[in-house]
Symmetry: D2
Subunit: 343 residues, 4 copies
């Protein structure tokens, strides 16, 4: 039994989701007439109480569209040094938006109003112009930790004070909401744009959505086209998205409880120095200094456990729709046998 905990992106569509995809009515989305895409976009916009949405291939696309639409070349983006937009989007902030970054060293990747304020550039020709703040919720690199609405509202206030835009990389937003009990509607008014991913915890094969004002989405749609992100009969993928929003949000709780369980198990391994607090579906742990994460991930793989390195001595597990209680039991056994052989 292969236990794939590399990422929640590895989920495959369930039979019911495949059925929804098979039956989807489609049209030509570039020409604006795929009914299922339109339905998904409208459903998502309404969910957040925002005006419009755009269905895209990936979270990188929705984030990059937001960043380039909110800024112009020579602007500066405030984000955490651990943020996905800075670390894992191929240098896209520079390439797509020609924008600079001011990197915050937040606690586990989280910004605060004070940290944002400190990173705002003065009006000086030697400096780029601060235009945009990006939050990530939950923070992948921070071990899946999350913000609450009041924390975000305080950051929004600083943005308003300085006329800055605020974008949310909400690739795993529903993991946060299911923990806090907060609603998507409470998020809409706090952001100029929100990106959510369907292909992670929600279990879709492909897809992310960018949500924002009508004008903003119109501009983003133009940029999507020249970035090659226009797609034709995308309705079958959109059908998976609609299915996921209807059926796969509440079950995220299961992923979280399984992740917590894994966190406890991992914490008992002798080679593990520390485990990040498990807040959602991500477990990051630190190995003893004599063990490289790359080696450890290989040892895990030899036992049929797939994980990824997250630093020189850091390893990440992510629970998801295709990770079952049966697999959890099997994982428990394997961990108890020990990963590192002792001589």
């Amino acid at each position: 039994m292969l236990i794939d905990l590399r990422s929640d992106t590895v989920t495959k569509p369930t039979p019911a989701m495949r059925e929804a995809m098979f039956n989807a009515e489609v049209g030509d989305d570039v020409l604006g007439d795929d009914p299922t895409v339109l339905a998904l976009e409208e459903k998502t916009a309404r969910l957040f109480g925002m005006e419009a949405a755009l269905f895209c291939t990936s979270g990188t696309l929705t984030n990059q569209l937001a960043i380039r639409t909110h800024t112009r070349p020579g602007d500066d983006v405030i984000c955490d040094q651990l943020s996905h937009v800075y670390l894992y989007e191929g240098g896209g902030i520079a390439v797509n938006a020609l924008a600079s970054v001011s990197l915050v060293q937040g606690e586990r990747g989280k910004l605060t109003p004070e940290l944002v304020r400190e990173h705002i550039q003065p009006d000086d020709i030697h400096k780029p112009i601060t235009r945009l703040v990006c939050l990530e919720n939950t923070v992948n690199k921070g071990g899946g930790c999350y913000y609450t609405v009041p924390e975000i509202a305080a950051i929004r206030q600083v943005c308003d004070e300085y006329g800055l835009k605020l974008h949310l990389d909400g690739a795993r937003l529903f993991n946060a909401l299911i923990e806090t009990g907060e609603t998507p509607e409470s998020y809409g008014p706090l952001f100029d744009s929100i990106s959510i991913c369907l292909s992670k915890g929600l279990g879709c094969p492909v897809g992310s959505l960018l949500v924002g004002k009508t004008d903003f989405i119109k501009q983003a749609r133009r940029f999507r086209k020249l970035m090659g992100g226009g797609w034709r009969q995308a309705g079958s993928l959109a059908a998976a998205g609609i299915y996921a929003l209807d059926h796969h949000i509440n079950r995220l709780k299961l992923d979280h409880s399984r992740a917590r369980k894994i966190g406890q198990l991992i914490g008992q391994l002798p080679e593990v120095k520390a485990v990040f607090p498990v807040e959602t579906n991500i477990v990051i742990f630190q190995l003893s200094e004599n063990i490289l994460a790359t080696d450890y991930v290989e040892l895990l793989a030899q036992k049929g456990i797939l994980a990824v390195t997250f630093g020189k001595h850091l390893v990440r597990f992510v629970t998801h729709l295709d990770f079952t209680d049966e697999q959890l039991l099997s994982l428990e056994e394997k961990l108890k046998e020990g990963i590192v052989s002792r001589s």
Copy 2:
């Protein structure tokens, strides 16, 4: 009966293609393990006798990836003034590649060795550096006309002489091949990169492929990621692609004969001044000077015929998989009734 001739992109997956999509084995393509995507990429590369391929959302993405991978900022691209890469990709050559264009005024959008030669920049700091030549085959804006292999070989020779790369926008390449009887294998050696579309004549919902050398595709894959074109379980779309390559190429002949028939019918309309020679599945015609294309397209729509404008007095029809003989008969009747009412 609605007759949709706006584009061959409007085709919807057939039941058999949907079946193939439903049954597709999938994986995570960003992590490199979607087996159906890998199979499609390998199949396509082999088809052209080239090393590698990359499955992408759109022809705009494959073209733009090719252009940006072959060039660097400050380079110059030679293409026809009618080419898709210049006219219909949202200004992407400038935005994605920071490259300039030298626009050739070819016959119906086709380059010749002489025209290419004339547009090569001298070594002068006032000028961008000529690096890439882009052909389109068939030429959409040229009424679907096509190149033959000897014509392309002559252009390749000029490129070799000056050390230029040669890219093919082959969005409708199979329409050309089915007419000339030439093979994809004969194309591979002539180009540094080839883009083909699955979502046009081949009838797939979504997808294009970029084909080239292994190193080139590796670089393009990197750019695809930062452009947001990485997708996860894309295997269901890839399955449609495999199905199309196996079943939808030969039938393009039908689209061509139907287009020729339409060309004859259209040529008899009193308001039509000229019809471009119909070589493949595209029919472009020119209206009398007192009729605007925008008005004419509206009149057509009132009769249930969808078309697009292609200039102030130009209208385009495109035949495709979902345009049947029954629809052709209906179209014939409607055209005979007349589109423009006479008072």
Copy 3:
């Protein structure tokens, strides 16, 4: 005696101008306190009845600053296919502004309201967004021909109708004004930005100015900095500029009458097929088809006459401050002797 007619850029500062440079009071312009630079900027802004000006190294810098400040990536610039901004600025429109071009085929490089109107893009995601129109006056590649104020006002009207910005590449604007008798003040209200060159007809060693609204100049100053165009004690160059504006405008008439005289002489050469109408200080002539411009320029150089090629069979002469009546006489003699030896 070497007769250098390659360009009016070759002029060297006169003794009086050198004196002005030597005595210039200077400061640190990046810190905003070079008094001579400030004086030149204010003098120039006032001359055009505009709000502010920015002193820069080159006409390419002022043009590129204007284009990038008026546009954002994905926008489209309408300019003539013969314009300097398209032909001779190293592909800068794409590199600096990530903007596309819609190239007009005007008469001798001049736009008309109708041509501008025809090149405005529709609101379509396949297309870049038309944002800016660029005029050149006089038109270098058009043989130094010029616009009149009413011609420009008619173009301005189209720009206003579509909300487009209008930039003037006025590298040789004073050559136009001296012919039409129009004033700089009449130009200010017609344009969103104007670039003028000091180092061409006006005889300065280095320098151009960009003129526009205060906000626009503030933004352009920022871009100037990141393009490396900030300079410290630039006051000595600014002093040359002030001197030139005070003393070198009226004398342009002499350059024009000498150019006309050269045009007449050239027109009598048997190897010359045609001479463009000489309207200002530029003489472009077309050689017989059996003579290449590159060969002819070499023959001229052997006789001590320096010129540049301007096409396969086109050669350009430019008169200027350092081209004297004595040189004109010598040129006349050499031309009478004949350039192409007959066997």
Copy 4:
């Protein structure tokens, strides 16, 4: 008596330098025939034992040219978080090169081989490609501290191991050399490119030089043109440069000893918490937490002392050619009187 210690850029040309400028032979540098510019470029290249040099308006231009010539969009630049290229060039790395930054937190802005190694990206499509390392010597933001040749050689070794380019922002390189006793010739072999400033310690009005291999400089010259950095009769400025290289290097020792003296005086002020070690001509000091740098700079200005803020509680003084012993005495008196009035 105004004491201007804002920057060593504020220096004005001395009478002897003005004389050299006045007498300079000039030509058209864009056409490649300004003899004084050519002489300066050759002299500087020879000084470093490198192949070629390019005379430019500013250190920002030479740095940005180096960065964009060494990289292509999607690449990553390793530099210190305090480096001028990251902090003070208007976000140019992103805008001009479309490159990302990996920011090192070095000791006073200095890289080490280990720190460079840690910041090299893995071969992963989520990541930009590490291509270039930038050093600054002396480090402005580090209080004018410097590297020695062995320190740099160790970094070069890491670069060679990974195939990385190494660029030196040597805006104040001669300040380092005069302290270490090392020669420019020892620097040439260590770097792929070196930028030096003439307008700082060397006292020129305008100008920097980029030095490197012939091919590299040819490419940089092309980019300079499209960035608007081509200048015509720049020979008068080049003459100042030649004069400065001949006469103003050894005297930098005076600036250093005066800076050290200032450091001692400042350290005795009650409101000063700490002074950075004074290694060259820069003095940075930290104020007590109850005093803002902006307020303190204003108090200094009221006493006729000009300085700049360098952080919330940091102030910078820079000594230079126009700062004399007489001014030092006056400064001493003013500091003894006290800057902050006590009530």
